[in-house]
Symmetry: C2
Subunit: 337 residues, 2 copies
């Protein structure tokens, strides 16, 4: 046991795209373990686009990161010391005190992973069996209420959430169009089972989406799962069928620059009676048992698979985060400790 840990701190707020200068790796004291607390040695850290929002000093989903404090984020690790009856040494737990090697706090901040009838690689608890997979599941099936036979468009389809959306939609009998940047990513989106993959770097997304729908013999999209915002959202406005539903999960295109997109097709909200809803995974915590049941079935049946982009060591964390905005990841971006 050490009395300190190494943790990434936010030392200045980024304006626009973050740089390495906003981050500093510091040795920091671990609080003494109080009654009911545990200490967890982290094995994997989650690297997610939404973290960018918490780096601003504005109201967002969750409170902003504090300057001079360790950053936070999803992590999975093993209980190394426990002063709680609820968790035992050796338990695998997921939690939100990432960006550091060792985390400590009240046991209720750490969730023991459920036992499943098949072997689960530890990092999966941050991916398809974690916040990523649950975000895809709740956004597609609860927020957008996507149904078998419908046509789903999902942006960033080679990303962590997007690739889960593609596979869940296919498992539930939907037609899926995914967009991704570049031929390699698009090939993977097709491998995942998408009926069509659009390379948004190859031409205007609105025109490509319209052509794809025509080729598939579809009049419009029923559901749009938005990870991107900007021109993808505008293309979805243009392509929306009657009573289309949009689940707004993220707008990575706008995280660093703010939205500067002029929506040419936004007025179709009225014509097509589009319903748009923003959501967060946290809104559906009560339905996690449904998610685990369905997702475990799909994973064990091979219907939902994953790829990861893995960086090694705590030192690589900020660079891995910056790479999200350069489109450097295929599937889930992770740091292995």
């Amino acid at each position: 046991m050490s009395d300190t840990t190494r943790a990434w701190h936010l030392v200045s707020r980024p304006s626009g795209m973050p740089t390495m200068n906003n981050f500093e790796l510091k040795e920091t004291a671990l609080p003494a373990l109080e009654d009911g607390w545990v200490r967890v040695d982290n094995e994997w850290l989650s690297v997610d686009p939404y973290m960018r929002g918490r780096m601003n000093d504005t109201r967002s989903y969750v409170p902003p990161f504090q300057l001079g404090e360790p950053l936070q984020g999803g992590a999975v690790g093993r209980v190394a010391e426990s002063r709680s009856p609820d968790l035992d040494v050796g338990d695998t737990v997921v939690h939100m005190l990432g960006w550091r090697e060792t985390s400590a706090g009240p046991a209720q901040n750490f969730t023991r992973v459920p036992s499943l009838p098949f072997a689960v690689e530890t990092h999966q608890w941050l991916g398809n069996l974690g916040l990523t997979g649950a975000t895809a599941y709740f956004g597609l099936l609860r927020v957008a209420e996507a149904k078998a036979g419908e046509t789903v468009f999902v942006s960033a389809a080679a990303g962590a959430v997007g690739s889960a959306v593609v596979q869940i939609a296919r498992a539930r009998g939907m037609t899926v169009i995914g967009s991704a940047g570049g031929a390699e990513k698009c090939a993977w989106v097709s491998e995942l089972g998408a009926d069509a993959a659009i390379d948004y770097k190859a031409g205007p997304i609105d025109r490509q989406l319209a052509e794809t729908l025509k080729r598939l013999g579809r009049n419009g999209i029923d559901v749009y799962f938005d990870n991107v915002g900007g021109d993808h959202l505008d293309a979805a406005f243009a392509a929306a069928g009657q009573n289309a539903r949009f689940a707004i999960c993220g707008m990575i295109e706008d995280y660093n620059k703010g939205s500067t997109h002029a929506f040419r097709y936004i007025m179709r909200i009225i014509a097509a009676r589009i319903a748009i809803k923003g959501f967060l995974y946290f809104d559906y915590l009560a339905e996690l048992p449904d998610f685990y049941r369905d997702m475990a079935g799909w994973i064990s049946g091979g219907q939902v698979t994953s790829r990861e982009t893995v960086r090694e060591g705590l030192e690589s964390m900020p660079e891995a985060f910056l790479d999200l905005f350069r489109g450097a990841n295929v599937g889930k971006m992770l740091v292995r400790l």
Copy 2:
């Protein structure tokens, strides 16, 4: 009976703001009255912003107006000749064959107005008791599901639909903030019962809305009724409370120029879990009895009143339409024949 009527025709499609050159008043033959048809002498013509959309040759709510054909729109008149058992000579009917003096067609295209337990001025069937009032009613109460105690923001609050929204919201016990252009219109919005009226010409709407909420002791808006789009919609994104609902009725700011607005606050869709829904009055025809019951009660009780901007004579119709986009109307814009 005449065999011809005078009707405004669309002779060219406007690009951007329409001009008088797009319209031509022509003598046109009335079709011979077939079995089941009626002929109606129009008394009032409705002048509405949504008509702009039908002047484009693109898919919109309803099919585009055809070049060289008479324009269409809401109208109320009296049956002058009937070859239908469903309508009698002298019946007051509302219909969508406006922009002309006399209309003829199958009786099912003309709706006899319901009888109410108080005197109704004929033009009210185009206003608070017509498409205008029903749009306000369904948008506020059905689409946005606004409830007593909630805070409602409505743009173009001195317009036909907006002024109805203000009064319905007050009748149902909501706090109402309305925006309008200029001190005179704002004074009327306050007279209608709005808790606050914002003059959008007096400063940035987002800042004014934030200040107004603070003054009223409210943290955010629960409902936004959008008639405007653009910077008003963006201000509503900024001011939205958790689980706010936006009913998108119109985007008059964008009808002529297309949306060139960069939404600075659109990402709050996620943070505040905003639900946005486009709608048209036609979606709720089955619930018209609810509307007539409630609206008749409010009108007879003095809770919902109206003002009209009236232009005289068929000749004035296109200019009245163009004036909508100059903000020249207070309340409903009408042409009296």
